[in-house]
Assembly symmetry: C2
Homo-oligomer: 312 residues x 2
């Protein structure tokens, strides 16, 4: 165990450790995180007051340097003064939904070596506690607060078949649950976790409509919303399934042959084999309805389909 | 800090703690994980030999019970014997890509209380070290080894605009990189991380083709592959963009009015406003080309479009 075991392959002497910190319970920090924080030249952080309290709790006295989204351009100077730099975000693993990734790029561009220590995140416990499918999932972070990009992200959550994970602030939770109901429908399964790892940790599971009722008032603590994927073949609110058979028959009547109808159906979203089957049955249906409608007047004349084949 | 702070709201006395364990470096375990393992009635695990070695390293002597995917049906009996049960997987956070989620369901159905401790995963450090967009990402876990479902998952990786994370075993890495090249194209940015948090940890970044060359031989250690999302508007190998203008003109020539063409274009994947604009311009183009082609022979007669409007 320990940072001393890792090989020194960098040429600049610059080393950056991204160090995960607790998301709530101060015990959720690893032995190696403590060791790295203690051994670094300095600890860079988003908020010196917040990270200073953590270091004090751990009994670690190292210089603290602010390096957040607004000051990240100072990374090269900080690294030249403190070439063995630990980086912590406000909570959880630096580099996911926070400015750590820019520091990684700065250190690598200087020829330095970067390590990301495994450790706490808020979304993994929330996913596991949701009871929803955890085999595949998409992390969305915080949604944009308004506008077209928010709508697009909500549509993506509604449409994908994987479980989705969202961060939300407590005073915006109810509005976001309402928006999710509008895009995913009230019956979509979901869960809301708040104050994870803290004394009053709570995870509530159920359909979105129930969660919106339950969390109608103000809640405390940062929130993770987990939304089940769209059931296969399930329709979204206001969505009606394309009437592929009707489309196929329409194109067949207009004179497209089976191959062309298949291509048009693929363009409209069907798989190749499904499109081919539907194109074939449309050709058969159109031919037989032509046969039925022309039979009384034409008598014994055999109707032909668009490709010139005689039916029956 | 500590498990003692959490409220006892269950009625059965059953409590389950999902405890993350190191993915490589034995120092990557949290203070609270050690405390919970030490205080539990027993530790359930996938592999008693592996988890026994971890407990021995930590100086913890608790009963070990095997509870893996094949024996998970025994969860109720195990919980009745050891109502305060810690659960660890072979490595990382239980419940993501392993059987922990079934134990959660069993404990909740008994009216018990479940806590998921924040801690180590392999995919978060791999994502951060990849240098790729970490604002949104999809975790795919291990791909199916063959067949239609593997193809569908590879297509999903190629198509989505979010970063994708895959686990892979070392002897299958090269084949999976080749499959990714086939679906995403050789230029797609990616990274491969192996032996994360261990002595010979390595992260290699570059286009898929370079990574496939570099990892052509056998590698050691479990692997995380991170694949950049599809560039917006980018085409996949063998894919040509639907020729929407041509489709629109085709339908217009067949006699569909602007509203019908718009609906057909939406069915083929266009947004409503884009579809409307294209339907309008198709109507205009078809009308003017009709005008051009009929002009020599028809002389002064004004051509009309499908809706019966006179052009010009």
């Amino acid at each position: 165990m320990g940072a001393g075991e890792t090989p020194e392959t960098d040429h600049s002497g610059v080393r950056v450790w991204l160090v995960p910190t607790p998301v709530g319970n101060l015990g959720d920090i690893t032995l190696r995180a403590i060791e790295v924080l203690r051994g670094a030249d300095a600890v860079a952080c988003e908020d010196t007051r917040r990270s200073g309290a953590l270091l004090a709790h751990l009994g670690i006295a190292r210089p603290l340097v602010r390096l957040d989204a607004h000051t990240m351009s100072r990374a090269p100077q900080v690294l030249s003064r403190y070439p063995r730099l630990a980086y912590v975000s406000d909570a959880g693993s630096p580099g996911v939904s926070d400015p750590g990734s820019e520091l990684v790029a700065a250190a690598l561009s200087l020829g330095g070596r970067v390590e990301a220590l495994p450790g706490a995140t808020a979304f993994v416990p929330a996913l596991v506690l949701s009871g929803l499918d955890s085999a595949r999932f998409t992390f969305e972070g915080f949604l944009p607060r308004s506008g077209r990009e928010r709508k697009e992200r909500l549509d993506a959550v509604a449409t994908r078949t994987e479980t989705s994970l969202l961060y939300e602030s407590p005073h915006r939770l109810h509005a976001t649950l309402q928006d999710l109901i509008a895009t995913c429908g009230p019956e979509r399964r979901a869960s809301v976790s708040r104050e994870l790892s803290k004394r009053f940790e709570e995870t509530r599971r159920g359909p979105l409509s129930e969660l919106a009722d339950y969390f109608a008032g103000t809640v405390r603590g940062e929130v993770v919303v987990v939304v089940a994927g769209r059931p296969l073949g399930g329709l979204l609110p206001g969505q009606s399934a394309p009437d592929y058979p009707q489309m196929a028959e329409g194109w067949t009547r207009q004179g497209h042959d089976v191959r062309e109808v298949r291509t048009l159906l693929q363009g409209a979203g069907l798989r190749k084999n499904d499109a081919y089957g539907l194109a074939l049955s449309a050709a058969a249906n159109v031919t037989s309805s032509v046969a039925a409608s022309v039979a009384p007047s034409v008598g014994t004349e055999a109707p032909t389909d668009q490709a010139g084949n005689t039916s029956d």
